[in-house]
Amino acid sequence: MDLFQLHAEDLFRADSLAWVMSGLIVFVIINVRSYAMRYLAGDRFQRWHRFLVLVLGGGVLAMVFANHLLVLLAGWMVSNLTLVRLMIHKGEWRAARYSGWLAFRSFGLGFVLLGAGFWLLAESAGTASIEALVQQDELNAMGFAGLLLVAIAALIQSAAWPFHGWLTSSLNAPTPVSALMHAGIVNGGGFLLVRLAPLFAGETLLMHALFILGLATAVVGTFWKLLQTDIKRMLACSTMGQMGFMLMQCGMGLWAPAISHLCWHGLFKAYLFLSSSSVVGEKHSIVSAAALSPARLVLASLSGLGGAVVFAQTSGIPVSLRDTSCLMAILAVTAAAQVSVGLLRRPLSAFLMLGTFAAGAGAGGLYGVNIHLIEAALGSLHLPPPQPLDAVYTAGVIVILAVWAALLFNLPARFQSHDRWKQIYVASLNASQPHPQTVTANRTAYQS
């Protein structure tokens, strides 16, 4: 039983990935605890909450600094169980208890799969040390099976479709717990994949599977997000989409960008949850390219390309059309072009054109610089290179661009009156509803 061989000296290892992840979690925990100090003032569960948040932090730290598979597994379990307890909060509200139960079920399955996967990996490699494990050249069948189970556990943790139910039904939790969940716990899947990146990188089949499920999650999650009418479920569906994107990046071998995404999304989403009471009366502004003249569309496209060029310069990613790194540049194109479309709706002038190109370049540059920051922090970590661009990845990139363009040209609004669109709308609305037992259908069932 290689999994249970314990040597005190290999239990923990502090590498740059561990430091980056621990930096994120400590930062979020300082914020959430301090926020809850006032936010939960008068709540009889407040002290418990603040204590459990520390326990959760301890679990996550053990997980990210772990070098031994069992330590990682233990940290994984402690942080997930603590999160479930935090979600339920006071325990008298049935819908909240059921949300906790759903999460518990998912995490339980994830834990069993992860445990089994680790056992198979340790048995096949003859070691439970992660450092030694990832240096293996070839995985045997047992090792592959182990890796597959680990990948599924990662998908469950990061709420990938079709394991997303626990996340989209989790909004009975107090706001700070949601912030912690979306900035911390859901990232566990991405962390796990990057931790074992050298093993995954050699398994094209697994990489493709991760990419496809990630893409499906990204498309579905983002589409649902656009339909949602309440702030918290909108944020949850958005997280689902973002996690899908991160899994996609892992599936493409864009490991460092995946960690960058996980960190910056975590901070972004924690902020949005903590400020979610501010949305009352807010006005919504969306942009459509449908009314733009061809000349302006060309300008917007050029500005998008400009953004990508600046991104390539600032991100430190050697962007190449031969491997998947081009996806990152394509994202920079969409962002820069989107901003440009919005700006180009004004009367055309030299000033506007200059401003548009500056905004496009700024968007690409900001994106690039922030990725560069994390890449630099991860510096010493030897991560495998991006996957070569093959048919699967190319098709995926085309899907991303097509969905983006369809929304940019506001197709849903144009097809409003078609029965087919109504079907899609209702089906998506239903699919994104929380689990029925987690809805407070009777007002009296709510307990503060």
Binding site: N31, S34, Y35, R38, Y39, A41, G42, R44, H89, L171, N172, T175, L226, L227, D230, I231, K232, H261, C263, W264, H265, L267, F268, K269, Y271, L272, L274, S275, S277, V280, G281, K283, H284, I286, V287, L331, A332, A335, Q338, V339, N370, L401, W404, L407, P412, Q416, W421, K422, Y425, V426, A427, N430, Q433, T438, V439, A441, N442, R443, Y446, S448
Partner: protein, 744 residues
């Protein structure tokens, strides 16, 4: 003395010769729900408003019965409610969803009927699909058909509809607001009526709960809470009258001296402690008046996109007043406008990237570091961040002086508003050199209930603009000439000023006024300094109500600033919590007593109101609003689940207009737990029905009550208790339920 009105509306439908139409049945059935305003302009209402025609005890019993039914946790009921909530949230969304429910302009019922055909959760069986495919075009027909399908006897139909509607009282109340209170042009985008709401609910019932039946009619015995309530009210009444009695005696021998300034505050209970604090600083006199200052206006500030109603919801605004830049050249106005569009573009850029596919993946990485920094700064140093962002804002968009342009109000109307306001507040002589009208508003951060802390008389907005308009009106020489002709002479050296009281930080900001005589400058300086001293005094007293007694002045001000700017703060201020009484009389009646911020104070001089016209207005308008507020606090405290919003910690803002609990729930109307409780199980608000005290002869009060149905209803049914302190004898009299007087 006049005869008490009998209850007019009964619980059970009155069986008449011809059966009521569907529309009438829904109207009868919906008496158990009160309108629910959107959070942006939240207006306090009595959640039992539809039952005010019943004696208080009966209304409470009926409400409890409905509430018990609404807790009836049958699986069918739950399934119906879940889908009903889903469709309500999708239809009524006011700007959260990027891809909205298709076809909303057709109305709630029709757009639901159009989409329900595709809803796999409803089309489970062939009969269900057949029903959905053949839904009638009109919601009335749908209701009739559903009642037939379920098999509800005619005599029970109203009650069945009532039980259906009352199972989601929050959403039903929102529909009631849309139908009866929302401005028609705003309603057109998503029209809805209670008939449509009921039709959707009944269609869902047929599909998901065909075995639905009318539920038992049991009425529980009078809840014990009524006894507690009555005892608590009697104790409070006794102590209040003991405080006021000696003051009434002094009133008769009062000498009048000209004060340095007169300050008119809103009747809001938060004004009272501040008024005492400013009076203690010098030769000042204060008055209380409804915070919209009698002006039925829509106002548009210099940075507002639209004009917004700024008067009580009971009044239709009849004028629009816009702010325009004054004393500012083209260049500085241009900078202001450019700064404004820059700030707006910042928000738009963010939303453009957020609400599409692919771009949000880049967006989160662009903004992650920045929001991370903001998060830690806002959490650990909120006051600093709020100052910094205010500075940054004014650097980008330099402030310009703006003043209201009164062209929209003709001179005669201006004079009429000015005169009516002065006469009603009893300020007709002995004007001070400075008269300040002081509106109020709150300042809180990340607070969905911010508007509940603002001025209810201004429709849940800040009251400063109204105060400023009235001051402008009364400074106009032509207006003063008209008033002079009407026997109301304002001395030439009197200057009117507008101001706004920030109730969260107790800061009073005076609006600049043009053409003020130089001799006023020193008085103004002294007033400003005294207002700051009053702020410190009140801040020390208020921090003590948060359990932070013993702070010195600076620490108290810092704490209030923190509460105002802290995004994690769930109690930025106590609002109108602990409100208990409404006192109508001269300022000197209350000037020397401490009322602990529990009383609405309306200035009134009965001698200047021989016909009782002003008293009628005060009792039927400001007092009714006070009763709405009082009932909201009362019921939110008595049962925070049924009539309140529940804990802010788990609230989820839906459609940018309302609060749900967690994943999805009924629309949680009423005040959140944190607004009325200092800790779990520890109420801060003391639940009590409103006590109104009038300083006027009983006979005069009698005449007013007899002429007004609403007063007979409120006093006769025990919703409000009335005490009259008769100036002729200085005896206090209590109005009994049969509208006769008894010694108090």
């Amino acid at each position: 003395m006049c005869v008490a009105a009998p209850p007019e509306v009964r619980i059970l439908p009155i069986l008449e010769a011809s059966p009521p139409s569907i529309r009438e049945m829904v109207a009868m059935a919906s008496n158990v729900v009160a309108p629910v305003w959107p959070l942006e302009t939240s207006i306090a209402v009595n959640p039992l408003q539809g039952l005010e025609d019943l004696p208080f005890e009966d209304a409470l019993r009926e409400a409890r019965r409905q509430h018990a039914l609404c807790g009836y946790a049958d699986r069918g009921r739950q399934a119906v409610n879940r889908e009903w909530i889903k469709w309500c949230a999708a239809y009524f969304d006011a700007g959260q969803a990027t891809i909205a429910m298709p076809g909303r302009d057709r109305g709630f019922y029709r757009s639901f009927a159009e989409l329900a055909r595709f809803d796999a959760r409803l089309t489970g069986s062939e009969t269900a699909s057949a029903l959905l495919a053949s839904l009638p075009d009109s919601p009335e027909d749908a209701i009739a058909r559903c009642l037939r399908e379920i098999g509800i006897r005619e005599a029970q139909q109203v009650e069945f509809i009532r039980q259906t509607i009352a199972s989601l009282p929050g959403w039903a109340g929102y529909v009631k607001w849309k139908e009866q209170w929302q401005a028609p042009d705003a309603r057109a985008a998503r029209p809805a009526s209670l008939v449509e709401f009921a039709a959707v609910g009944l269609v869902l019932t047929v599909l998901l709960w065909p075995g639905a039946r009318i539920l038992g009619f049991h009425r529980n015995a009078a809840p014990t809470v009524i006894d507690d309530l009555a005892a608590r009210e009697a104790r409070f009444r006794k102590s209040l009258l003991e405080k006021l009695g000696p003051q009434a005696d002094v009133l008769r021998t009062k000498q009048t001296v000209r004060s340095d300034a007169q300050l008119v505050f809103c009747i809001d209970v938060r004004s009272e402690p501040f008024r005492r604090a400013i009076e203690a600083q010098g030769n000042y006199e204060t008055l209380g008046f409804a915070g919209f200052f009698g002006l039925p206006v829509r106002v548009q500030g210099i940075d507002d996109d639209h004009a917004l109603d700024s008067c009580p919801v009971l009044i239709q605004p009849s004028h629009e007043v816009r702010d325009e830049a004054s004393d500012c050249d083209r260049a500085c106005l241009g900078r202001h406008e450019r700064g404004r569009s820059l700030l707006r573009m910042r928000g738009e850029l963010y939303q453009w990237l957020k609400y599409n596919f692919a771009t949000p993946f880049a967006l989160v990485e662009m903004l992650g570091p920045w929001l991370g920094l903001r998060m830690i700064a806002q959490t650990l140093a909120s006051s600093f961040v709020s100052r910094l962002s205010a500075d940054a804002r004014s650097a980008v968009m330099p402030a310009v002086d703006a003043k209201p342009v009164l062209d929209g109000i003709e001179l005669e109307r201006r004079a009429a508003y000015g005169e009516a306001a002065l006469r009603m507040m009893g300020l007709t002589e002995n004007f001070a050199p400075l008269v300040v009208f002081c509106g109020h508003g709150s300042s809180s951060t990340n607070n969905a209930y911010a508007s509940a802390l603002d001025c209810g008389a201004c429709g849940g907005r800040h009251g400063g603009p109204n105060a400023r308009i009235l001051a402008e009106i009364l400074n106009t020489p032509q207006v003063r000439a008209v008033l002079d002709d009407n026997g109301l002479t304002i001395p030439d050296d009197t200057l009117f000023l507008g101001a706004e009281h920030d109730t969260t930080q107790d800061l009073v900001a005076l609006y600049p006024s043009q053409g003020q005589p130089p001799m006023q400058q020193s008085r103004l300086e002294k007033l400003r300094a005294d207002l700051t001293r009053a702020q410190v005094a009140n801040a020390i007293a208020r921090t003590a109500t948060f359990g932070q007694g013993g702070l010195d002045g600076d620490a108290a001000l810092r704490e209030l600033a923190r509460r105002s700017s802290d995004w994690a703060e769930v109690r930025p201020e106590w609002g109108l919590a602990r409100n208990a009484a409404f006192i109508i009389g001269p300022n000197d009646l209350t000037r020397n007593v401490r009322l602990e911020g529990r009383c609405f104070l309306h200035s009134y001089d009965w001698k200047a109101d021989p016909a009782g016209a002003y008293l009628t207005t005060i009792l039927t308008a400001p007092m009714v609003v006070a009763q709405w507020i009082n009932s909201q606090y009362l019921f939110s405290t008595l049962d925070n689940v049924a009539y309140g919003g529940g804990s802010k910690a788990t609230q989820n803002i839906t459609g940018k207009f309302g609060a749900m609990q967690g994943n999805a729930s009924d629309l949680m109307h009423g005040l959140p737990l944190q607004s009325v409780f200092e800790a779990d199980g520890k109420p801060y608000h003391e639940p009590m029905r409103l006590l109104t005290v009038v300083y006027a002869p009983c006979a005069m009060v009698d005449a007013v009550i007899c002429a007004e149905e609403v007063l007979k209803k409120l006093f006769g049914n025990g919703w409000v208790t009335l005490v009259c302190i008769d100036p002729t004898s200085n005896q206090a009299h209590l109005l009994r339920r049969d509208l006769t007087w008894a010694p108090a």
